[in-house]
């Protein structure tokens, strides 16, 4: 099994290092032809506007959508989660999305960089809280249909959601040494 990591922009190296530590083969994906070689896809954190534009310019939107609809597991962290959602709130007017998960993402939902934070989050299916980091993070609103929240903050705001073989986290497991969410994804 080869895990693809979307490498248009952002923290793709961190995901790669985590998977390498776990002994999982991975491949950077920049073009549609790279996509054909992978069995799963991680979309990293970064700037969702930048990654979205490059997805459109290099004709990756439909090939990724088709692979995921045909069963390829996908996981988006932060910007990647925004790109998976069916609706983007507080984004640019024409911001592209893969429109795969039945959830709305609100960009920069906590404020500016000064409001970025670290916290322990309880994630359904994990034995103990997950210490992680939120950087200019989105929140995931109104999961519906097959999509359900798997982690919320104490005030109820959703920060991780799952819809079958699709996973979205508004935080960054790749910036920690804790590989439990990567393992969770590899088992989807």
């Amino acid at each position: 099994m080869i895990v693809g990591i979307l490498a248009l922009q952002g923290a793709f190296r961190e995901h790669e290092e985590m998977l390498t530590r776990m002994g999982v083969p991975c491949l950077q994906v920049r073009l549609p032809r790279d996509l054909a070689k992978v069995d799963r896809l991680i979309m990293p954190g970064g700037e969702s506007t930048t990654i979205g534009k490059l997805l459109v310019m290099y004709d990756l939107i439909e090939p990724i959508r088709q692979r995921v609809l045909a069963g390829m597991p996908i996981w988006g962290t932060c910007a990647g989660a925004i790109l998976l959602s069916s609706k983007i709130i507080d984004g640019k007017a024409d911001q592209p999305s893969l429109n795969l998960m039945d959830i709305e993402s609100r960009r920069n939902a906590f404020g500016s960089q000064l409001d970025s934070f670290e916290a322990d989050v309880t994630v359904a299916g994990l034995d103990a809280p997950f210490h992680t980091v939120f950087i200019r993070a989105p929140i995931l609103e109104k999961p519906h249909g097959e999509c359900h929240a798997i982690a919320t903050l104490p005030d109820g705001r959703v920060v991780a959601a799952r819809q079958g073989h699709m996973l979205a986290t508004s935080f960054h497991p790749e910036l920690t040494l804790d590989d439990r969410i990567h393992r969770f994804f590899l088992n989807l």
């Binding site: 930048t50 984004g91 970025s116 200019r136």
Partner: protein
């Protein structure tokens, strides 16, 4: 649940999210929107781009907070702004504006000829310039959460950017080949803390993200810096002093992503208009070099 804001991980982490991207200098709301539309990962809000600072001379200071706030309100991507080296009150002002990053920049006229800002005291993260590894590690010790090699801003000549990036990366490679006892001497020569030197020797890279800056004017320049081994690029005068800023900005963004693919770089380099005229750095007198500011 304990929530901790403005930790080292959140500060250095934002820079990690900018990797593989282009940060563009903008002087007004219109340029900021063009930059965001072109795919910039962040904008640097300032009154004058380095090429104009160079031309007009005089003292270059922090930009008008009103301009910075208007730019911040006009885009959804992170906004950075520059404070003078050592001007910790300009830094306090910029932090109060709620922007995302401060650049303690040699492009502005230094306010302190001995001390840089003590960046650990701030909630907001800082990016600093460096010409070599010693300077890079001293800035990290002071609290910089991101670095950029300085290059020579406002020239459109990439030679100094190449020199500084090669210097930093070459010095890291030399550290990796050293024995433990040699590292003590290396730390002394670098004028940097031993623990940090040891950490860099073991990891084979800086503990923070390092972009290239100063003189990048074409898609090929951006890809050159990426292939040399930096994490992303700052483009100052190179975009909005060119013939067609929007097209050039998009081309530089694509070349930064596909920096290893010559076919794509060739494609995006076609018909993008005039590059900024530029100044050959070897024609500049020593006292006009901005990179020598900072200690």
């Amino acid at each position: 649940m304990a929530i901790e804001k403005s930790t080292w991980t959140t500060k250095a982490g934002l820079a990690q999210m900018l990797k593989g991207g282009v940060i563009m200098d903008v002087i007004d709301v219109e340029q900021a929107k063009i930059a965001e539309d072109a795919g910039a990962v962040a904008v640097m809000a300032l009154e004058r781009v380095p090429a104009d600072i160079r031309k007009q001379g005089g003292v270059a200071r922090m930009s008008d907070p009103d301009l910075i706030v208007r730019i911040k309100e006009s885009v959804t991507i992170p906004v950075m702004a520059k404070a003078r080296i050592g001007h910790f009150v300009e830094a306090q002002i910029l932090e109060s504006l709620g922007i995302d990053y401060i650049d303690e920049s040699e492009v502005l006229t230094p306010a302190d000829n001995e001390f840089h800002i003590d960046k650990h005291r701030y909630k907001i993260p800082f990016v600093n310039g460096c010409k070599n590894l010693g300077e890079a590690l001293r800035r990290i010790t002071e609290g910089a959460a991101m670095l950029r090699t300085k290059g020579e801003a406002g020239t459109g000549d990439v030679a100094v950017a190449v020199f500084h990036a090669r210097t930093v990366l070459g010095e890291i490679r030399r550290l990796q080949s050293m024995s433990e006892d040699e590292l003590y001497s290396a730390a002394k020569n670098l004028q940097a803390p031993y623990e940090l030197v040891k950490q860099v020797a073991q990891a084979g890279r800086l503990p923070v993200v390092n972009f290239a800056a100063g003189g990048i004017a074409t898609p090929a320049d951006a890809a050159l810096m990426m292939q040399i081994g930096v994490d992303g690029v700052f483009v100052g005068s190179g975009i909005f002093k060119s013939g067609n800023p929007s097209v050039r900005a998009k081309a530089i963004v694509q070349a930064t992503t596909h920096y290893q693919d010559a076919h794509i770089i060739a494609e995006v380099s076609k018909n993008i208009g005039e590059a900024m005229v530029g100044i050959n750095i070897s024609s500049l007198p020593q006292e006009q070099l901005l990179a020598n500011r900072g200690w």
